[in-house]
Symmetry: C2
Subunit: 196 residues, 2 copies
């Protein structure tokens, strides 16, 4: 990875974030040194500070941009039947979790390494995402197509269940992505009281 001097900001900027995301997810924020990130990118450690004021800001930036990407990418259709919206949500969540497993992993593993202020900001974004799911459950109850004892608890339970996919799913394993989504669809519909 060693290379000679030169200027290539458009390449290095994203490369720093990619390397940090991958290394933080693999070994944990505290276990990764700025030197490791620099080596992965192919620059010297000092050069990283042209892209981030410090290591903490690098982590915060990864979590914030991930959550904002999620919120921007999710398009609900409040006019559709709640069960269809729920199916769309679980497919969206599983797909993005499998597309960006490192970012998902970081987002719920490394909250504790943020400063309190940064942690609060990320928690707010996450809350908005949870609310998107809860809105569907509330609509489903109102329409009579779902029935559950507590929409907030169900929201937390479903998100934990869906996010867990990233921790065991392996490309080329026993089940492909579509099959996993179908199985989880059955589980989720059962949990929200939409029995077949």
């Amino acid at each position: 990875m060693a290379r000679t001097q030169g200027s290539r900001a458009e390449i290095t900027g994203p490369a720093v974030r990619d390397a940090a995301r991958q290394l933080f997810a693999r070994h944990g924020f505290a276990a990764v040194s700025m030197r490791q990130i620099a080596a992965e990118v192919g620059v010297q450690a000092g050069a990283l500070y042209a892209y981030t004021p410090d290591k903490q800001a690098l982590l915060y930036d990864l979590l914030r941009s991930h959550m904002e990407d999620l919120l921007a990418a999710w398009h609900d259709n409040p006019a559709a039947p709640a069960l269809d919206r729920l199916d769309a949500f679980l497919r969206f969540h599983i797909q993005t979790s499998l597309e960006r497993p490192e970012a998902v992993f970081l987002s719920y593993m490394e909250l504790r390494n943020l400063t309190p202020e940064n942690r609060r900001l990320i928690a707010d974004l996450r809350r908005r995402y949870e609310d998107a799911l809860e809105a569907i459950l509330i609509a489903g109850q109102a329409q009579g197509s779902m029935s559950m004892p507590d929409t907030r608890l169900t929201t937390m339970a479903l998100i934990a269940m869906l996010t867990g996919v990233a921790s065991w799913y392996r490309e080329g394993g026993r089940l492909d992505q579509d099959r996993v989504m179908a199985v989880y669809g059955d589980l989720v519909r059962g949990a929200v009281g939409a029995c077949p």
Copy 2:
């Protein structure tokens, strides 16, 4: 916490493990120094090495003993109806998760900081625990009281869902422990196709 010289092995041994568990869970394995652990216990850093060969062994010991405690404490009753066994399992899992949130947190956050050999050993123990749940689901299908598309995926989904409780539950919050178990009971029975 500072104290004078003296010998009190029966106290210090467990205290080292308690302090390590708490600090690792709060800040992450890599972020915690042996000096921090020693300060929490009230000894000097060098004294810790009378109880553990190194930092890695300390982590491994915490994870191994937690999983072995879980396996030893779970008593299934294969003769009972599968739905009753499922209810007992989810109550057991939620209760132990809430009794020992730090150990639960560590057990699925710090696997990556184990050596490959140690990681394999912990994964084997975890697998045995997952098998205990899957056996119930298989029995439920055979008895006709449950129906699901894939018992292995359902096992992983349910464990992720139940373990997630520890991440948001707060003593004295909106719901007490019994109420949480009841709500999750409904969700779980729905997911496994045991519709009311």
